[in-house]
Symmetry: C2
Subunit: 223 residues, 2 copies
DNA sequence: CCAGTAATGTAATGGCTATTACGCCTTCGC
DNA sequence: GCGAAGGCGTAATAGCCATTACATTACTGG
């Protein structure tokens, strides 16, 4: 072990996974041959098969090493001493950034393409990414409710609604990767305000004070 | 032409497309061989190649024949003489039904899997399904606004937000097709109420009648 | 019923790529 | 330095499937 406490095989393993990671993202799983991976990473086919068994094993390893849930982020941002509205705004920015990350989009595409052949695989992915994050978010809502923050709906339902706003973008991006305008006409702040009004939570207007509502104001009629 | 005004070749064409449609949905595009299609549909490989050129041509034909936008539905339901809230509720039910239709889910999966190889293809699909429907929905919101219905946000943004609630389910279903509980903790009616509150539209409570506004005119008009 | 055309069935072809086999070379512990 | 393990490189193997070719059969229109 000449370097950083890792065996030769271990270093090869990491090189393979990194190479496959890059190639899978750039050209997709099907279009990436194992020779591509070996050429990119160095090493040999024999070693690759010894390490991962077969191509699918390599994919599994790549996902296992790289797919992370956002639940940590939810817990960190959620534990800040700030108003729920402000926390949700930060979370919105974070989700928008992470869900549209090319890596995440590419992984989603790969998993979806494989979901017929390997169902437990895609279920694991969904569980690790979306469900885990949703649960964490639901716990946050539940905590707020316990603390006396008022809002409509269930914590789980609200978590899904909040996540859903950003997952729709991910879906869109998975189909036409950057080629075409996504459906995100709504900036993050507007979405969060929409969401806050939707669940009837105080602080709907993140910038100004909420006005008294004694009757509808004249609408702004520009067409 | 012995039957219903269609040539022999035309009938074969339809049989091929129907067979490919079924097989693509059941076992995916990659896993379906052209021999599978011929076996299922009858006919011969030679005829299939004469008709579609190659496998991708067959896929194109299948999608072209079967993919339909929801914009007609939006126009039909949207032109009913009913309150916006009621119309949105109906649209919500319709979207929930159509977006989770196995055919739609399967097509989405196929298109996403191919979006790296054939970008114009997936762009066309996205345009035909989502964008078209979104545009139609946006026009509906714009019309309501012209008629004096009050709501926040832009018609386009609201259309995306409304669609997004159901597209998130589609994405979820594309990953784990029915295996695992989707994220639709929220029933359609609850979602629509959430949405109505979110955009600040009257009729958030779908059971009671919308009150008269003292600013602009009462809202139900015919165009 | 007949000729000609159109469709069929079967059997190549060919390319691609996952997977395996094996002899050579490098590295590692001593 | 030395002698094994353990990787490396290259070259088969092998299966799968899109695509093509062709001889045979079925249909069509008169």
């Amino acid at each position: 072990m000449t370097e950083c406490g890792r065996s030769r095989l271990d270093r090869r393993r990491i090189a393979f996974i990194d190479a496959a990671h890059d190639l899978f993202i750039k050209q997709g799983y099907e279009s990436t041959t194992l020779v591509d991976v070996v050429t990119y990473a160095g090493g040999s086919l024999a070693t690759l098969y010894k390490l991962f068994g077969n191509k699918e094993g390599l994919l599994t390893a790549v996902l296992y090493e790289n797919v992370r849930s956002c639940d940590i982020v939810v817990q960190q941002i959620g534990s800040r001493d700030a108003a729920p509205a402000a926390i949700l705004l930060d979370l919105g920015h974070e989700f928008a950034r992470r869900f549209l990350d090319p890596e995440r989009v590419a992984f989603s595409r790969i998993v979806i393409a494989h979901s017929l052949k390997n169902q437990e695989f895609s279920t694991m992915f969904h569980q690790t990414t979306q469900v885990r994050t949703g649960d964490s978010l639901a716990r946050l809502f539940a905590r707020w409710r316990n603390q006396g923050v008022e809002f409509l709906g269930t914590p789980e339902g609200n978590a899904d609604l909040f996540l859903g706003m950003f997952i729709a973008d991910l879906y869109c991006e998975a189909i036409n990767h950057g080629a075409i305008t996504c459906n995100s006409h709504q900036a993050v702040a507007e979405r969060v305000e929409f969401f806050l009004r939707g669940i009837g939570m105080k602080g709907a207007n993140l910038t100004e004070k909420a006005p008294d509502a004694d009757g509808p104001k004249p609408a702004v009629l520009e067409v």
